[in-house]
């Protein structure tokens, strides 16, 4: 397939867990044609399929890493998901497992960037906290720069 894919991980009905999908919303129409935008609840096998064949993938996920809500992290995903982070997805083996599994079966893109947006907790709801909302805008802007 080749090309570039941006994947926003999270559940829109789970409060700040929606940070990833919210970034995807902010990116609509702002990237070069051909860049795929994907929303995912973070199931590892869905992530493998979503970045399968892509040369470059950017994944945005809500994480709990001990910092203030809204803090933004950017890491090289090919080196693995930082062990100090907890991915916030609710039901599934998530981004960390997708990276490890992708390594084990040679299904990682050549370039894989992971943006982690810190949240405090995941609870049902349809609103983002203002700090997280701000981080969403920030990350969307960075991705636009990164891919231009």
């Amino acid at each position: 397939m080749g090309g570039v894919v941006v994947i926003g991980v999270g559940n829109r009905m789970m409060g700040d867990d929606a940070a990833g999908p919210a970034v995807i919303d902010r990116l609509a129409g702002r990237l070069a044609p051909g860049v795929r935008l994907v929303e995912s609840v973070g199931d590892a096998t869905h992530l493998l399929d979503s970045w399968g064949g892509a040369q470059q993938a950017i994944v945005v996920d809500a994480v709990v890493a001990g910092g203030a809500p809204g803090t933004v992290h950017r890491v090289d995903g090919t080196e693995g998901f930082p062990s100090a982070w907890r991915s916030a997805s609710t039901h599934l083996i998530g981004v960390a497992e997708a990276i490890d599994l992708g390594r084990a079966v040679d299904m990682l893109p050549e370039q894989l960037v992971v943006y982690g947006i810190e949240i405090e907790s995941v609870a049902p709801g349809v609103e983002l906290r203002p700090e997280v909302e701000g981080a969403v805008g920030l990350v969307a802007g960075r991705i636009v720069e990164e891919l231009s």
Binding site: M14, T45, V122
Partner: protein, 430 residues
């Protein structure tokens, strides 16, 4: 002298208030087992109130990333019940087809990436991949074949958006469906191989006396429609659910425990469906089950991995049958008139029966919603099963004991089964 041992298992809080397991052992006697793994979707029930009835399938689909189709199906059947709509013919078949896709992907994920590693002695599917890459790749490919069915019919594989009250927004052409066939034919062979592979595992002895509950239909293995039946003689219309089943608040948590009124714990899921509907499986699925020594009934929850694999084969064959017989319907949905009323839906999610009830007001808005997911229904049974396992393995060192307990929880494929890999286990001894 008292020798107290406490085992406390907490999920790294993904959802606030989500459950935990706590075991207290005093003098080699189990003092208590508390297990609450799942908070019922009360937020979603409240959120739906006042919204248009057409929102129910899309919103409830977001409760679970693994089984959105189940939530959509139970909600549309409930709404159709309220409005007196019957969806038949090709549209009914397409609903079974999308459910086949969900069973294939959910079962493949659980069998290969979550449960098989328990039996083969690996911490996770990832660790297993290092030694058994071909096995993991087979599981991933099988899951993808299921995804392809859900994506084609659902519009999107995660949170599908094409399902609506009355049918679909758009139906596929015969040609689109036929494109799925080669991979499903591969999947049929892979599913047979899966049954043979997992039946070779070593299974802890267990013979449970559960009350099994599932949907049952006279002519087909259950997905969408039928009566609710049990192994202890229950045989009721879906609309009678609340007369026979009870959701009880548990003091120590926000969880609700479901029970059959006056009898107690019951079990929903693959074991229940299999034991109550064996004769409706395809000939190949029945034959393969016999060949691996499963028989017509199975009361060992550890063997649910074999049953899940048999159901995967059934779902693949049923998908192929539906595609072969498909004629594109003239309209993608059945038109209906909105009216005030109450409707009930019970369909078979991969992990067990999922019940929805809605009251709709005259203007088509949702006045009241009730959602009873399979994991909430299984909670009491899981708790009693953990007690059973504990009683038989108290002599094990803590680490091995926690392994067996986690494996036991995973037998039920609870909604957060994957999270059981992240159990935070503390053991205290006095």
């Amino acid at each position: 002298m008292t020798n107290a041992r406490e085992i406390s298992v907490e999920y790294l809080a993904r959802v606030e208030g989500e459950g935990s397991m706590h075991v207290k052992v005093v003098d080699d006697r189990i003092e208590h087992v508390d297990f609450s793994i799942f908070e019922p979707p009360r937020f979603f029930e409240a959120f739906l109130r006042g919204r248009p009835h057409t929102d129910a399938p899309d919103i409830t689909a977001r409760i679970c990333g693994i089984c959105p189709i189940a939530y959509q199906m139970s909600s549309v059947h409930a709404m159709e019940g309220a409005f007196g709509v019957t969806v038949g013919g090709a549209l009914r078949e397409l609903r079974r087809l999308i459910y086949c896709g969900e069973w294939i992907e959910s079962h493949a994920l659980h069998v290969y990436l979550l449960h098989a590693p328990d039996f083969l002695g690996y911490e996770s599917g990832i660790h297993m991949a290092a030694d058994h890459r071909d096995v993991v790749e087979q599981g991933l490919r099988l899951k993808k074949a299921g995804n392809a069915v859900v994506t084609l019919l659902g519009g999107r594989e995660i949170h599908p958006i094409n399902v609506r009250v009355g049918g679909f927004y758009r139906v596929p052409t015969k040609k689109e469906l036929e494109a799925l066939v080669p991979e499903l034919e591969w999947s049929r062979d892979a599913a047979v191989a899966t049954i043979k592979f997992v039946s070779g595992f070593t299974f802890p002895e267990a013979e449970m006396d559960f009350e099994y509950v599932s949907v049952s239909h006279p002519d087909e293995y259950p997905f969408n429609e039928g009566r609710i039946v049990s192994s202890k003689g229950l045989d009721i219309d879906v609309s009678e659910f609340n007369r026979y089943f009870l959701e009880e608040h548990v003091e120590r948590s926000n969880a609700l425990h479901s029970r059959v009124r006056e009898r107690g714990a019951y079990h929903v899921g693959p074991l229940a469906r299999y034991n109550l509907n064996f004769e409706k499986l395809t000939p190949l699925a029945q034959k393969t089950a016999w060949e691996v020594g499963l028989g017509e009934t199975c009361n060992n929850p550890f063997k649910s991995i074999i049953v899940r694999s048999v159901e995967t084969l059934y779902a693949v064959e049923e998908a192929l049958r539906i595609i072969d017989a498909y004629d594109e319907p003239a309209e993608p949905f059945v038109a209906y008139d909105v009216r005030e009323g109450e409707g009930h839906g019970a369909t078979e999610a991969p992990r067990g029966m999922l019940y929805h009830r809605y009251r709709v007001s005259e203007d088509g808005r949702i006045a009241d919603a009730q959602i009873v997911p399979p994991t909430a229904q299984n909670q009491l049974t899981i708790e009693s099963d953990l007690r059973y396992v504990l009683e038989r393995h108290l002599d094990l060192p803590d680490e091995e004991l926690s392994w067996v307990l986690e494996q036991s929880i995973r037998n039920y494929d609870p909604c957060i089964s994957c999270a059981t890999h992240f159990l935070d286990l503390t053991i205290e001894r006095a």
